[in-house]
């Protein structure tokens, strides 16, 4: 009965309500995605003269030393930044939920860098690092370790405030009576933190961990602007490894900087990258589901 009076009139308005999004979504996502999968199996210079070659591009991508280097570099970066951002973000959130005067001001300041775009962030920090390093006669572009830790510092500055907001929401949801009970039972602050607070904010910790992991893997703008992959190492066989180049930038460079014959390889790399990122997303989903069942 409900359906009779309500659903049918709306159905007739399909083109107005769902039409625009369906059309734009097809242009902006569905078609490029399908075409991208197809082209990863092709050799092409222009899309219209693509020829099917099977898994050749994937073999070339996995044999590409610069791609494998960027994978390990990205993984190392993502894990390191995950640890730093989450510990510091949680610490900030914990400190700001203790009822200290001026907490709102601190929260405002810590979150602020999150609104600045990646390109601008990269150039701000490249100026700062070079300002420091030039005193020792070097530059962030000259050593891989400077580029790595520089990007970690940059990402901490940008993301700590973001994770802090999620952790604050989690901490505020910890039941007050549980904390009270722990206090009455004579638990110390540290005991309360590890035995009561942290188990209660596990959902926030899961969200933030996966969020910083995907952010680390997908990083592009900051990487491009801070070091752009420098310093470079020329391999014995003539190819170049850009030591601070992350996955997204490697794919970009394969598409647009190398000779046009490698576009198929670049698309194959992009598909592998997609599988990796989507895999992390699925792992998060599975993990959250499992926890929900347990509870």
């Amino acid at each position: 009965m409900r359906k009779g009076i309500f659903k049918n009139p709306l159905r007739r308005w399909f083109w107005l309500f769902l039409g625009p999004v369906t059309a734009a979504f097809t242009i902006g996502f569905v078609w490029p995605f399908i075409q991208g999968i197809y082209l990863s199996f092709c050799k092409f210079k222009l899309i219209r003269n693509a020829t099917f070659i099977g898994f050749g591009n994937y073999v070339s991508a996995l044999k590409d030393a610069s791609f494998m280097h960027s994978f390990w570099y990205t993984a190392l970066f993502a894990l390191t930044s995950l640890v730093f951002i989450n510990i510091l973000g949680f610490a900030a959130a914990y400190a700001l939920t203790q009822g200290i005067k001026g907490s709102n001001l601190y929260r405002t300041v810590f979150f602020m860098p999150n609104l600045i775009g990646g390109i601008v962030l990269g150039y701000i920090w490249s100026m700062i690092f070079d300002g420091i390093l030039s005193r020792y006669g070097t530059s962030i572009l000259l050593e891989t370790k400077y580029g790595f830790w520089g990007l970690i510092i940059l990402m901490c500055w940008q993301q700590i405030g973001y994770m802090m907001i999620i952790y604050i929401a989690g901490l505020q949801a910890v039941p007050e009576d549980m904390l009270e009970a722990a206090k009455i039972d004579g638990a110390t602050k540290t005991q309360t933190l590890f035995k009561v607070t942290i188990p209660n904010v596990m959902p926030s910790i899961t969200i933030c961990t996966f969020l910083s992991l995907t952010n680390g893997f997908k990083l592009f703008d900051q990487n491009l602007a801070l070091t752009g992959g420098q310093p470079f190492i020329i391999q014995p066989d003539g190819s170049t490894i850009k030591t601070t180049e992350m996955l997204a930038l490697n794919i970009y460079n394969t598409f647009y900087n190398s000779n046009s014959a490698s576009k198929g390889v670049a698309q194959a790399k992009a598909v592998l990258f997609f599988i990796l990122v989507a895999g992390i997303g699925l792992a998060q989903l599975a993990y959250t589901r499992k926890r929900e069942v347990q509870q």
Binding site: L16, L18, V21, F33, Y106, L115, G131, I207, D221, G281
Partner: protein
């Protein structure tokens, strides 16, 4: 006595924490301050005396700003114009059409609706690099490569998160309100605009904030889609100044960076509550 002791200790602990936080806070603002002082500094000193306050011969006044405005044969003002146009148009388009679509999806719930919905959820885990080449070619062949048409591309690529958040909210609205409207003789279009849309306001603000932040700061999508000799957004412009070969005028670059983050910071200070709430909502759901 003992209780007073713990209270005093507690107060001392809070004071120490407060001081530590204040110091961290100052460290946090330093990068922005560095941008400010360097935007008034003569270019040659930016590299050598990055952290010095510009006085005497280092002081450049507003020369960097004037230079930056016309730097690189492209007027900065045009970038500002295009950035504002693209951000406003894309956000408006996304808010209007995805909320309409989300209402339709939640209420009709046909097979096709489910397909669209799950595709949207799926699109949220797809990184941009996966589609960047084919998307820019598709946009090119459909002439979506101008600031006036690129919002359609944003609507397409950004629909996922918006649809997901709106559908989640619409499902929590009781059907009875809409049924009452339809009994009173409202057609679906009127029901949507005068009954459903006003109820969506909180989600609209959250989604709007997320989209504004994304589109305003986005570099790669407009760089690949737009004809960059004619149309540059602010991030593209800054990347061009700094990333191009030859000598880079750091002073002028910092002046432009300062100009581009001032509006963002003002926007943040005005809508702080909404921004923090919107970002948290997007993170928890995404």
């Amino acid at each position: 006595m003992n209780k007073q002791g713990t209270l005093a200790a507690e107060r001392r602990r809070k004071t120490i924490m407060s001081v530590v936080l204040a110091v961290i806070c100052i460290i946090y603002v330093l990068p922005v301050l560095t941008v400010v002082i360097n935007s008034f500094k003569v270019n040659t000193f930016v590299k050598t005396d990055t952290f010095a306050v510009p006085t005497g011969e280092m002081w450049a006044g507003f020369a960097n700003f004037i230079k930056g405005m016309t730097f690189g044969n492209y007027p900065f003002w045009n970038s500002v114009k295009y950035s504002v146009l693209i951000t406003v148009a894309s956000t408006a388009l996304i808010l209007l059409f995805t909320s309409m679509a989300a209402w339709y999806i939640a209420r009709v719930n046909s097979f096709f609706c489910k397909v669209i919905y799950y595709l949207c959820v799926f699109s949220m885990v797809v990184p941009f690099q996966m589609v960047m080449f084919t998307l820019s070619k598709t946009a090119d062949s459909l002439h979506l490569n101008t600031p006036w048409t690129i919002p359609i591309v944003y609507l397409g690529f950004g629909a996922g998160l918006a649809i997901f958040m709106f559908v989640g909210f619409v499902k929590s609205i009781p059907l009875e309100i809409e049924e009452a409207a339809s009994i009173d003789g409202c057609g679906p279009v009127r029901t949507y605009f005068s009954v459903v849309l006003p109820m969506l306001k909180p989600t609209m603000i959250s989604v709007g904030i997320l989209e504004i932040m994304w589109v305003w700061n986005d570099y790669l999508l407009p760089y690949l889609v737009l004809d960059i000799n004619e149309y540059r957004t602010i991030p593209i412009h800054i990347q061009y100044l700094k990333g191009s070969y030859g000598t880079v005028d750091l002073g002028a670059t910092m002046a432009l960076i300062l100009l581009s983050i001032i509006p963002v910071i003002i926007f943040y200070l005005i809508c702080q509550k909404h921004i923090i709430k919107g970002v948290a909502a997007g993170a928890v759901k995404g």
